[in-house]
Symmetry: D3
Subunit: 67 residues, 6 copies
């Protein structure tokens, strides 16, 4: 019955990558904790880079500096 919430910046995560995250996270619950996959939820939140901060800065600004 695990619930896994993955938060990443919304920088072109593809449908295939989301599927790989869901499969990998579910597999991890089965392998490490012997959990039942049919009641394992994985939810992915894609967060705008203006709305995510690290080290006092917006990720959108950090990306601009790096460019």
């Amino acid at each position: 019955m695990p619930y896994i919430n993955i938060k990443v910046t919304d920088e072109n995560v593809t449908k295939e990558q989301k599927r790989a995250l869901i499969r990998g996270a579910t597999e991890l619950m089965v392998k490490v904790l012997n959990k039942e996959p049919s009641t394992t939820f994985v939810l992915i939140d894609e967060v705008n880079t203006d709305n995510w901060g690290i080290g006092y800065e917006q990720v959108s600004e950090i990306r601009n500096i790096i460019k």
Copy 2:
């Protein structure tokens, strides 16, 4: 002072349904725990079906198989 967060897939939840969820969840806090409705928060997140997984699969794929 309760805080209730409801996460559902974003499959055409209407404004009226959202209102019903807010009223019902608030009522539950009042009835069961005698909480004060004026400081009861209900937040609804609608999650894209590509971003929600169950049983190793994306909900968007499960919906396709059922069609």
Copy 3:
């Protein structure tokens, strides 16, 4: 497949009250959104009154003033 998270202060919520919250929240999903109860999760977090603030104040302090 809904996921509901209920956060309340940890002020002697009984096992029966928790059960009532779980049943009521699940029922709300079935009635309003026609969701499947067998994949409806309800999680209750009980938060220490020192760790919950409203109106600039800790709930533990608000409770003391009221006493």
Copy 4:
């Protein structure tokens, strides 16, 4: 290593305001808890006013009544 999640209604929060929230929240962690800013995350969620309820009502409806 703190993680701060700020949820507000999506009512025209500007990029500058988001930056001020990120800086202020990070500063709070440094000042109060002596945390390291380079591993302090701040995430802002903007929630539609139809999806946020208080006192049994949708915020979108409360805003309409006030107008």
Copy 5:
């Protein structure tokens, strides 16, 4: 910069299992999304079985029936 939150029931998860969850979830972010591990957070919440419901029932009750 991903943030992963894993919620499981508090049924004797060992320190070694927690470490395996942290490593596995971080590795998933690196492999699938090419993320930087030094800013990847994994947080595990262990939830009391009285506080987790599925299919209208508390997990503590479901465990009792199965015994």
Copy 6:
């Protein structure tokens, strides 16, 4: 009506520090977004250092290495 959730490791955060976090976070909402403090919630989660990972490692292990 903001909701702020602060997650930190459970390393002897005092009641006074929690109060400072609650006041500071509420003040930030008032100053930056002109929000109403009486409906501003601040919730603090203290997470065991075994349950928090960064850079593949448990914080409890990182603390041991530093000692």
